[in-house]
Symmetry: C2
Subunit: 407 residues, 2 copies
């Protein structure tokens, strides 16, 4: 927890990854983020991985530091509460993050009637409002056909929901940007962020689309070869797989030096009449000639020998390791000040991270766990909507809202 966004009140009506990470990033920078869900949980409340007792480790990872209110979103009275929360009053509120349907009861038009200067950030699948998820947007963009070994034509999906994650962070950026604009002009707006547009724009930003237009076809599949420079996985004498890469001249010269390949590569340069040091693209063009030299050099050394030599020589490299090894890796998890062992709604205690960036000279406040579903129902109704205890009691009795006990 940092306090950059202290005083902001953001309401989140969401599920899955993109909109919840947007709320997570805001909460961990100090905003009050109130997530509403259906009583009993939304479609992501039991999403795997699960703890043994059935609690979702996914849900409790994505909702850290938020408040939770549980509402019957099928009931008209419940829908009204959701609308009123989204349009909550105050100069630092009226900030709503959602992936609810664009034309439903949480449409911008419906909410704008309740608060003219509302800022609504809406994660969508396809830009036309039709259903799309990370998997189906990704399959439409060509990436699974570019991914994986060149000798296997099967499409390979990414395991990391990259489009969801990029969309979530971009939505957090858009929300604070819209708040700055509202502070200046008094005007609110709806920000629509469809995964399809985020994906289409990103493939263009990185040059993939221009490349495809020029070539007439997308980049061919090439395993782990780094496109347009030198890099790939190589195997050591003891069977370890290491990623080595050299984009800059310095990265290239250092790799050659530690691997003892300078003379061999100079010979190849003379034969081909090229300078690999001056042009990273030539290393890619001639990679079929370069790879055997590197394969032989790796095959003569163990990982225990090469790793420290690479580090000492300033080479850009990395070992492939499974996540259980990463958890013991002091560069990632072990002792990383981002992480703190805390107790989660599942009842389990395990390390969890706060904000992903480190602010200096700010103190890093304690990592906050996710709430139990409905834990802040009464608090939110009273503080945000100004309801009396008897009004809140009536809503519980009518089954329109529920607390952490599910009632």
């Amino acid at each position: 927890m940092y306090d950059l966004l202290k005083g902001l009140r953001v309401v989140e009506g969401s599920a899955f990854v993109a909109a919840p990470t947007c709320g997570l990033y805001l909460a961990q920078m100090g905003a009050e983020v109130i997530r509403f869900d259906n009583i009993g949980g939304g479609p992501d409340f039991r999403r795997w991985p699960l703890a043994e007792n059935g609690s979702s480790l996914y849900w409790e990872g994505l909702n850290k530091g938020k408040k939770s209110i549980a509402i019957d979103l099928a009931a008209p009275a419940g829908r009204e509460i959701a609308q009123r929360l989204a349009a909550a009053p105050g100069p630092d509120a009226g900030l709503f993050v959602t992936n609810f349907p664009v034309d439903g009861f949480l449409s911008y038009e419906a909410l704008k009637k309740r608060r003219e200067d509302l800022i609504c950030v809406r994660v969508m699948g396809w830009a036309d409002g039709s259903q799309g998820m990370d998997y189906t947007i990704n399959s439409a963009l060509g990436l699974p056909l570019m991914t994986g070994p060149a000798d296997d034509p099967r499409p390979v999906n990414h395991v990391l929901a990259a489009w969801d994650l990029l969309t979530g962070a971009y939505c957090a950026f858009s929300l604070v940007s819209a708040l700055l604009a509202r502070m200046r002009t008094g005007e609110g707006r709806e920000i629509r962020a469809p995964l399809s547009d985020i994906g289409a724009a990103t493939m263009a930003n990185l040059g993939f689309t221009a490349e495809t237009l020029l070539a007439g076809h997308q980049r061919p599949r090439m395993g782990n070869d780094i496109f347009g420079a030198f890099g790939r996985d190589f195997t050591t004498r003891d069977g370890q797989t290491l990623m080595l890469l050299a984009i800059t001249p310095k990265q290239w010269s250092k790799a050659l030096e530690v691997l003892g390949l300078a003379a061999d590569v100079a010979g190849l340069e003379a034969e081909l009449g090229v300078s690999f040091a001056a042009d990273e693209g030539l290393r890619f063009t001639h990679r079929a000639r370069l790879y055997p030299l590197f394969e032989q050099a790796f095959a003569q050394r163990t990982a225990a020998d090469l790793g420290p030599a690479f580090d000492a020589g300033g080479v850009t490299w990395g070992a492939y390791q499974p996540l259980e090894a990463a958890l013991e890796d002091p560069r990632l998890y072990k002792g990383n000040p981002l992480f703190e062992e805390i107790r989660h709604p599942s009842g389990l205690s395990y390390p969890a991270p706060g904000a992903m960036a480190t602010l200096r000279p700010d103190a890093r406040g304690p990592v906050q766990a996710a709430p139990k579903l409905g834990a802040h129902t009464d608090e939110v109704l009273a503080e945000v909507l100004g309801m009396s205890a008897s009004e809140i009691g009536d809503l519980h009795d009518a089954g329109v809202v529920a607390g952490a006990d599910g009632r």
Copy 2:
């Protein structure tokens, strides 16, 4: 171009993907973003893909809408210009985005001497300041060992630089958040965003680390199977590959309906004593029994038949298509209002996107191309640093700065 961030002046000293996308997102929301580079270009200036004339399509994709100043960053006078730009005066300036080394001439400590309330957002590789890139952070997090067909043990790198992209968007969010805080308190700060921390935190946010701690090992490799629910690629009678998924009860029932599998699946549920509708996880647990039913159903239909039936029935699905087909797809590129055909520094004209989100009711301004390297050198020196024409001339003569002609 939108104008949410109108009036902000951001200086970017960067290369590759993460820091440049941060600047790109800021520029496309209306900030003035001034990127400085070495005369002749930084380490990413010739990054592939290239146009036939050697211009980088990658560089011109990532730097749209920015201004460019070219400086000799090895010369003391050049370094002083870079420092003065980073710490540029004014309430809406002093905003610096970089991936330069944490302890070099662009360290926070050095810059803070020039502007006490500076906001510096710094992309890093590893949190300890050592070299790390998307490829090597990713290999350390276990994902390449979880990706790809289960029958092939080779690590599979992602083609999309997901950690770079997430970091860039998170940095844009952090920068605007820090500006909001500075407006409130007058204080600046350094925000360090190492890819290693962004990766480690994200694997935890999504539940991967808790899952690994509980199981003692990371998630096994499982091809394109969606973890914890139902989904995979299936092949139609005419050999097309389609992604189908069902996480919610509605997604599941609609898929069964269109594929005519309701009775078969009910039979399997009776045999196993489970309800697939009520619990997405059971669909995953018993996927080896479910897959053959779906494989047969897909094998009986063509893609031309199934696609419209899926759409009409509200099924969540997607075809795998290469990027050249995506470019003709009206849901992604063809006619997408994000895109505009513009002329780029390479001399080529092709469609490029503006901001990735769509703001309502704001008008979407024209898409801005990337600058030629050094195109704004004189303008920036005069307007931001208040230099006279003769001072600027002297800097050119001394080779400390260069314009678009390289001199």
